[in-house]
């Protein structure tokens, strides 16, 4: 058995010895040029005059390109809306690339680019959500999902509350910055090594920019030093820039962003404002709800429509809403193009409803968990008319949220700790503790249905060793190892006999981005299909040669058994090869059952849901707003986990990243639209010292995914990020205790010490 095992990451031994190669580590030929972008210094307006003479004559510079020099399309957009690589004269944010400078070293290119003299004509820039609402700066017309009659049910409900929460964005801060290397070939073809989650799209955009067919472009990626969604579309710029410069100069070209450039140029998680209006009864059961989601998309469409959709699709989180209306406003602003980030809008949607639940509980003077329990989706019911639906009319048939929360509640000692904290808070004047349990229900599948497909290539060599390739990319999530485990399982071979190779558009074409947590689900299945093909051929060969039925041939414990007699895998493969049996196959998989109309807001956008829950305990200092996470307990659903070690790593990392987003990671733009927090010196991601003191992480054990996913496992990339919401709700709880829970603590995110202090003051002064 190779699955269900906690095997280490496939390249762990390379990582610890420092020899694992990332894009920036690939040895480059001597004549390689190093590129940087010249960036816009204004947020909105146009270029009046560009004088690049000093750039061109600077030491080491060999070529400078502008939009007009691109042979094909000046476009790096992942959506049908255009997005120029280099400004076409109009400027839409501070940091927008205007020209590419190529020099003999990275340092010289950087120095030279600073010498550009550009005259601008400024226009009024729209930076904030409020400004965009005022200016009616919309990307498309508002999208509405509706179920039942929320307006009336709210009107007729026992209680009614409304409020607003502002949710900040998040920088990906993948530790490996964006990077690409283009190598031109003698026949005009080009190979690009790129740190990207979406090699096929990079290939497509490079081909368009060079006016070449896709078969002239090959994109490869062995591994990334983190992606988190930030290398889904944002990596296109570097791939295309290197390609056009290599095409122009005939030399290898490499580009890597410095951290500052990376943060200034690339998009981040979307900021949101969410308004809510909710009706409920005395037990806290929600009877009707209306959400308005205002989404800051930045200057271009990018993946914003799908992200805003997913936020709407998660505005119920794990709660059954009988009557609900969600309206989403997609706002264009003069800031970086907000983009994919782990959770893809889902986290923001969930925060809306979690905030509502905390609001209701504090209003009713109840523990927030009892209110949550009032509203959870039911366990699946056999009776059709009892199946509950989401606000987008999809039936929830696989809910395990109730048993999962029940288990976590007892393993974390929730009830007892709740009382202890109350006592503790009564005795302590300046320090206050808070506790919260929040659930996660996350829909798995790309909401753009056609993306739910994957291909794979499996080779068995004549000596019995196996090499696999698939369209998924490795960014640290352990995809390669999990997929290798699938192949090992299928052939019943030790994992050491399986090699997995760099993702390569020359091997598996037309792949989807490694995103939407779909990596293992899709690619694992595609590899399984390919392995099955080869196994079938082997069985038919053995059947014919030795007069056996297919059921008499088994792949077991590393060998092949024919009617109970053991043969080594190697010997059978050798025989098969000598008998001219094909030992290589492709596999293809498309997720079944999904169908979705995004404009109507109706259908089954997801194949299944992944669940989880976390309890966080925090402590705050009411004099300074300083705070710490004291303890975290997590119970998470990975179905039947293919690799518990990797999955638990994803869960813990996801939690910490989510909690970081909501507490310390603050992005600040000044009035001009300049991002002021563009380095780790001013933008604080969680450090080792912030790690929760007590951190209990468990997988939820049960029979596994109801759907026929790969070995009944569930996707685990994104869902755990949203476990971090419990940290925000726990802070909210601690603040409310200052005012004896008679006033609602409305905490915008990130809940920095300043914001916490401000809320505490409001509690104390009763404002």
């Amino acid at each position: 058995m190779s699955i269900l095992k906690p095997l280490p990451h496939d390249a762990a031994a390379l990582h610890v010895s420092g020899s694992a190669q990332y894009t920036d580590d690939i040895p480059t030929p001597d004549n390689t040029l190093h590129l940087v972008f010249g960036l816009s210094e204004i947020a909105h307006g146009r270029i009046v005059k560009t004088d690049l003479t000093d750039v061109k004559s600077a030491s080491g510079v060999s070529c400078v390109l502008m939009a007009k020099d691109i042979p094909g399309k000046n476009d790096i957009s992942p959506s049908p809306f255009p997005e120029p690589l280099l400004s076409d004269g109009t400027l839409n944010y501070i940091g927008q690339p205007i020209f590419i400078c190529a020099a003999t070293s990275h340092l010289l290119a950087r120095r030279a680019a600073k010498l550009a003299k550009i005259e601008y004509k400024k226009k009024k820039a729209i930076i904030t959500i409020e400004e965009a609402i005022k200016a009616k700066s919309l990307l498309e017309k508002p999208v509405v999902y509706n179920k039942g009659d929320p307006e009336n049910t709210i009107l007729n409900s026992e209680f009614n509350l409304n409020g607003t929460i502002n949710i900040g964005g998040q920088e990906h801060f993948y530790l490996e910055g964006q990077a690409a290397l283009a190598i031109p070939h003698d026949d005009g073809d080009i190979t690009i090594h790129c740190s990207t989650q979406h090699p096929t799209e990079a290939q497509h955009k490079v081909a368009d920019a060079l006016k070449k067919p896709m078969n002239a472009v090959r994109v490869q990626v062995r591994r990334m030093g983190g992606g988190f969604g930030g290398k889904e579309s944002q990596s296109n710029a570097l791939a295309v820039a290197c390609a056009i410069m290599a095409n122009q100069t005939g030399k290898p070209c490499k580009m890597r962003y410095d951290r500052d450039d990376d943060m200034i140029v690339t998009g981040k998680r979307h900021d949101f404002r969410i308004d809510y209006n909710v009706g409920f009864n005395g037990k806290g059961k929600i009877t009707g709800i209306e959400f308005k989601q205002f989404v800051r998309c930045g200057w271009s469409a990018d993946l914003s429509l799908a992200i805003a959709d997913r936020a709407m699709l998660h505005s119920d989180n794990a709660y059954f809403l009988s009557d609900a209306k969600i309206t989403s406003y997609r706002l264009l602003t003069n800031t970086q193009s907000a983009t994919a980030f782990r959770g893809f809008g889902g986290p923001q949607g969930m925060i809306g409803i979690e905030q509502v639940i905390n609001h209701i509980s504090q209003y009713l003077g109840k523990d927030s968990l009892t209110v949550r329990e009032q509203n959870f989706y039911n366990n699946p019911s056999k009776r059709k008319n009892e199946v509950q639906t989401t606000p987008y009319h999809m039936q929830v048939k696989d809910s395990i949220i109730k048993p999962l929360v029940k288990q976590l509640k007892s393993s974390s000692n929730y009830t007892k700790r709740r009382l202890e904290i109350e006592n503790w808070n009564n005795k302590n004047k300046f320090l206050k503790k808070g506790l919260a349990l929040t659930p996660v229900k996350f829909g798995i599948s790309f909401t753009l249905t056609h993306l739910n497909q994957a291909g794979a290539l499996v080779h068995v060599y004549q000596d019995g060793s196996i090499r696999i390739n698939h369209g998924g990319t490795e960014m640290g999530q352990g995809l390669f190892q999990k997929v290798a485990q699938v192949a090992a399982q299928e052939f019943s071979q030790p994992i050491e006999n399986i090699k997995i190779t760099a993702t390569d558009t020359g091997k598996v074409p037309n792949t989807s981005a490694t995103a939407a947590s779909s990596g293992t689900d899709l690619n694992g299945m595609a590899v399984k299909v390919a392995c099955e093909k080869i196994k079938l051929r082997l069985k038919s060969f053995l059947g014919k040669t030795y007069k056996l039925k297919a059921t008499e041939i088994e792949f077991l414990n590393g060998s092949i058994y024919c009617k109970g007699k053991e043969y080594s895998f190697k010997s059978i493969i050798k025989q098969a090869y000598e008998n001219r049996i094909s030992l290589s196959a492709t596999g293809f998989y498309a997720t079944p059952e999904i169908k979705w109309d995004r404009l109507k807001g109706k259908g089954n956008p997801f194949y299944y849901f992944a669940y989880g829950a976390a309890v966080t305990e925090v402590i705050i200092d009411t004099l300074t707003g300083e705070n710490r996470i004291l303890r975290v307990d997590i119970c998470h659903d990975a179905g039947k986990s293919i690799n518990p070690a990797i999955d638990i790593g994803q869960i813990q990392g996801g939690y910490v990243q989510g909690a970081g987003w909501l507490t310390t990671e603050e992005l600040i733009w000044n009035e001009e639209g300049k991002l002021m927090t563009h380095a780790p010196s001013t933008y604080k991601i969680p450090a080792c010292s912030d790690r929760p003191r007590i951190f209990h992480t468990n997988l939820f054990h049960y029979e596994g995914n109801k759907k026929q996913t790969i070995y009944r496992s569930k996707a685990v990339g994104e869902p755990p990020l949203m476990l971090g919401i419990s940290a925000l709700m726990a802070l909210n709880d601690a603040i409310a205790s200052v005012g004896d829970w008679d006033r609602y603590a409305l905490l915008d995110t990130p809940a920095t010490p300043e914001k916490i202090l401000f809320e505490i003051q409001k509690q104390i002064r009763g404002i």
Partner: protein, 159 residues
């Protein structure tokens, strides 16, 4: 600008290289000596991905100039293993699955090794604060701490 000739020792080997006086030690290691184990995560001393030791002192190589390596001895991640044999710390990182994308790992190993050489019996809090300058975006740090504590225990028992 004229290149400067630097004599130094890296992981016990005497080496020499030419570098621009403005170049960082990190760039010199990566670009002149092809030692790409140390990574650039920020270039400003805030992430620890470029950690190396300079005469046994833990430094961010992005904040040291290449020319400052003159006459000093540098330790990088490439020198932690002895030939084919991984250092116990490296083995524990694999065992505890204490890495995901792995790009922070070299810096964290160099920093941890420096800690354990100074303090073979650190408390968990000491480890946490010692490594506070080494950012990791993937793991949430839990397994890293466990791997370090476990190594320290083993090394103490072995000595």
């Amino acid at each position: 600008m004229n290149k400067i000739h630097v004599n130094t020792s890296v992981n016990g080997d005497n080496l020499e290289f030419l570098c621009d006086p403005r170049e960082t030690l990190l760039d010199a290691l990566r670009d002149r000596l092809n030692l790409t184990g140390a990574k650039e995560g920020c270039g400003t001393g805030d992430c620890g991905a470029c950690s190396v030791t300079l005469d046994d002192r833990l430094v961010c190589s992005c904040l040291v100039l290449g020319v400052e390596a003159e006459g000093k001895s540098i330790g990088t991640v490439e020198g932690i293993a002895e030939g084919e044999n991984l250092h116990p710390l490296q083995q524990k990182f694999i065992e505890h699955a204490a890495l995901q994308c792995g790009i922070c790992t070299p810096g964290i190993l160099v920093a941890t090794k420096a800690l354990l050489e100074k303090n073979p019996d650190p408390t968990e809090t000491e480890v946490r604060y010692w490594l506070a300058g080494n950012l990791c975006r993937c793991t949430g740090y839990d397994k890293i701490i466990k791997a370090v504590m476990d190594t320290a225990r083993d090394l103490r028992e072995a000595s």
